[in-house]
């Protein structure tokens, strides 16, 4: 299994929970709203036209726009609530339309018979029209369900976790594996939920005539189990989270998982209870910490510098760190709990032996050789500002530039197919293949200093700050690289990498 695939699968449980929660809640609400509306419309022609028009109009608003709109209407609130609101709005058309159509298709003589024996409109509806319209209504629900599962991926854009996390980050970083994992997972969920509804429908239709008693019981048990699981799942998801002392957040890659684990372990060691919320989007976790939903997470100076402060200049590692500290304190009331010591940034790396042979240790040493070298980059490196910056600063360009899937890139440099590659400084494979990270004496690459961003509430707790502060400058590039290697390359659990890093603490 490729490392990339493993990395993605690691995220699956979290995204699965998010996606299922979104879908189940949105569909429950969608059905609860749409069927009564459909019934209402079927009862009165004066309601039907306008109602279907409104529902149709909602449907034409592009999904991205409706998300933005809902967020705006909810006063900037992000997360589950706007995502579910948008999904509910989007699920309505097929259900309402099919409910109306189904109810209208019930033949007049059956309705007359029902009236004739003295059923009220309500009873006719519940006992005759809805049961007879059920196949059509359920067809609408099934369409809406599949649709909702698909659209729920967009919830990622408003900060609700879903399989969209795979797809969007995958599309952005051209990580086809992530896109595929996300798409397959969503498709599988759609098919399974669809099968559950299909099962319910089958049971309803064969309620009276149990053609095959054994089969009926088998399907019923399967459906009941599925329903109980789903119900339990919704309840579990909606349960007020158990009150813990501190929430440790994290973005969605190995290093973040390891550091979150380390921080949590240290806090637990000091007697605090913790909970981890990982795999969030960069902006989301930042916002969450600013609003005290998360107490601490691993951030990088360069990320804040460019994403939040919109700066593009590079006044040096220390200045940037200082300005970042200043900025997060001023604008979002966040504290830099400790600067861990390592940086996670793009860099150039070579085989150690090759570099020694050529006498290369820093990027400036490349100048005489670059034109004859073959360089490998990941799918986006050569079109990123980092590369342009490097190229212009050192005035180098490589003779040949190839792009690779990350995994292939490392083996390419290791086997000598390329001379030099783009690497992340803390990537475990740098350690695994014993590559040399070239120095950047001119500081062309913006610094990505790892530090623990702490929420304003947590910052007021001295015990917490002592634990967090104890990590100051304890994790070197080499140590972080090794820890990443343990998880990514050697396939060991995160906890082992955490234990390894703990050896650097006193």
């Amino acid at each position: 299994m490729s490392e990339n695939l493993r990395e993605q699968l690691l995220l699956l449980p979290d995204y699965f929970q998010g996606h299922l929660t979104l879908t189940l809640i949105a569909m429950s609400l969608g059905v609860a709203v749409s069927i009564p509306l459909g019934v209402w419309a079927a009862q009165s022609n004066r309601v039907k036209g306008p109602l279907l028009t409104v529902v149709s109009i909602i449907q034409t608003i592009p999904s991205v726009a409706i998300l933005a709109l809902v967020v705006a209407l909810l006063g900037g609130r992000i997360g589950l609530v706007p995502a579910i609101t948008a999904l509910v709005l989007y699920s309505m058309l097929p259900i309402v339309r099919n409910t109306v159509t189904g109810l209208e298709s019930v033949t007049d003589d059956v309705v007359e018979a029902a009236r004739g024996i003295g059923m009220s409109s309500r009873q006719i509806l519940l006992q005759v029209r809805i049961p007879l319209a059920l196949p059509v209504i359920i067809a609408g629900i099934r369409t809406a369900m599949v649709w909702t599962v698909g659209l729920a991926t967009l919830s990622t854009l408003v900060g609700a976790t879903s399989f969209g996390n795979f797809i969007f980050s995958g599309l952005q970083t051209r990580n086809l594996v992530a896109v595929t994992v996300g798409s397959v997972a969503a498709a599988a969920m759609a098919v399974i939920l669809d099968a559950i509804i299909g099962g319910i429908q089958w049971l309803a239709e064969n309620r009276v005539v149990q053609v095959d008693e054994k089969r009926f019981r088998r399907v019923r048990n399967a459906v009941m189990t599925a329903l109980i699981l789903c119900g339990g799942f919704i309840i579990y998801s909606l349960l007020p989270e158990e009150e813990v002392d501190f929430v440790v957040g994290g973005k969605g890659f190995t290093e973040q998982y390891i550091i979150a684990g380390l921080v949590a372990a240290e806090l637990e060691g000091a007697g605090f209870s913790t909970e981890q919320r990982l795999g969030m989007g960069t902006d989301v976790v930042y916002e969450a910490t600013a609003s005290n939903s998360v107490d601490v997470y691993l951030e990088y100076s360069g990320t804040v510098w460019s994403n939040q402060m919109l700066r593009e200049d590079n006044p040096g590692r220390e200045t940037i760190m200082a300005e970042v500290n200043d900025y997060i304190a001023r604008t979002d009331n966040l504290t830099n709990g400790s600067r861990l010591g390592f940086q996670n940034l793009y860099a150039l790396a070579m085989r150690r032996d090759r570099a020694a042979e050529m006498g290369i240790s820093s990027i400036s040493d490349l100048r005489p050789y670059a034109a004859d070298m073959v360089a490998g980059g990941d799918l986006e490196f050569f079109s990123r500002p980092e590369w342009l910056q490097l190229r212009d600063t050192y005035n180098i360009d490589f003779g040949e530039k190839l792009t690779f899937d990350t995994t292939l890139m490392y083996s390419a440099v290791n086997e000598g197919q390329v001379d030099i590659i783009s690497a992340y400084t803390t990537d475990g494979r740098v350690a695994a293949f014993d590559l040399l990270i070239l120095e950047d004496p001119e500081g062309a690459l913006p610094p990505y200093d790892g530090f623990l961003a702490v929420s304003s509430e947590a910052a007021m707790n001295p015990g917490f700050m002592a634990v967090v502060g104890n990590l100051e400058r304890k994790i070197s590039d080499v140590a972080m690289r090794q820890a990443n290697r343990m998880v990514d390359v050697d396939g060991r659990p995160v906890s082992e990498a955490v234990a390894y890093l703990q050896t650097f603490l006193d």
Binding site: G116, I117, S120, V128
Partner: protein, 257 residues
């Protein structure tokens, strides 16, 4: 007591009259046979009595109360109705169809089950064997009997029956006629029964109304109708059984000789 006063009904805003100026009274405990040409307005008349159709004009009352002033659901629950087109619920089993009105009246389940058993037994379709079937799995005559059972299930005082035995073989039909007549007499039920079988009407009905083209031509006891037909059509229709028996006799004699 059911009373119709100058009741009229048009399906096309007065261009033609499905029922034109009909008045008659059915006394409590009486069984009125309603007979007449196909399309003469019999079904429409029945439907107006339990408010499945609204009369275009005129007054209908049951036990002295104008039906238009009664809650239609409550009214219908207290009137058994056997539909001409059978009118079973296709998604309900036989037992559920029969239990429909008692359920609406919120009888308790044991009483409902017992009553289903009784009525289905009465129409010759034991609950155990037929209760779980869907209407689509029954023969035409069996479906019709379920319709009769459903109408009787809730023990109503008034019953409207639209060709209730039309799809039954002569033997089953005779049995059911007798059984029904017995119940009707015992419980003093007020019944209007549409039928196309003059014999059935003559044997079962206390009085018979003969309709044609939306109007009641004559209403009277079988004896009155036979002996003082007020109209050619009435004469034609009441003499039909005898006439046919005669023709039959002749035919059989001829084929025998």
């Amino acid at each position: 007591m059911i009373e119709l006063q100058h009741v009229r009904k048009s399906y096309d805003d007065g261009t033609s009259w499905a029922v034109a100026d009909t008045s008659f009274t059915v006394e409590e405990g009486e069984l009125l046979g309603l007979i007449g040409e196909s399309g003469c307005g019999k079904t429409t008349t029945l439907k107006m009595i339990n408010r499945l159709e609204e009369p275009s004009s005129g007054l209908i009352s049951i036990a002295g109360k104008n039906v238009m002033e009664r809650n239609p659901q409550e009214l219908r629950r207290n009137i058994g109705y056997v539909f001409q087109g059978i009118g079973l619920f296709p998604h309900y089993s036989v037992a559920e169809n029969v239990a429909a009105v008692p359920r609406l009246l919120q009888w308790d389940e044991t009483r409902i089950r017992q009553r289903c058993q009784e009525t289905l037994d009465m129409v010759g379709l034991p609950l155990e064997e037929y209760g779980e079937r869907l209407p689509s799995q029954m023969s035409g005559g069996q479906q019709q009997r379920v319709g009769v059972a459903r109408a009787l299930a809730a023990q109503p005082d008034v019953i409207l029956m639209d060709e209730p035995f039309g799809a039954l073989d002569p033997v089953t039909r005779a049995e059911l006629q007798e059984e029904f007549k017995r119940i009707q007499a015992t419980l003093n039920l007020t019944v209007i029964m549409v039928t196309h079988d003059m014999t059935e009407a003559l044997l079962m009905a206390d009085r018979i109304a003969v309709m044609k083209g939306g109007e009641v031509l004559q209403i009277g006891t079988p004896y009155e109708l036979l002996n003082e037909p007020a109209h050619d059509y009435v004469q034609e229709i009441v003499e039909m059984p005898r006439q046919r028996a005669d023709r039959l006799e002749k035919l059989l004699h001829r084929s025998a000789s």
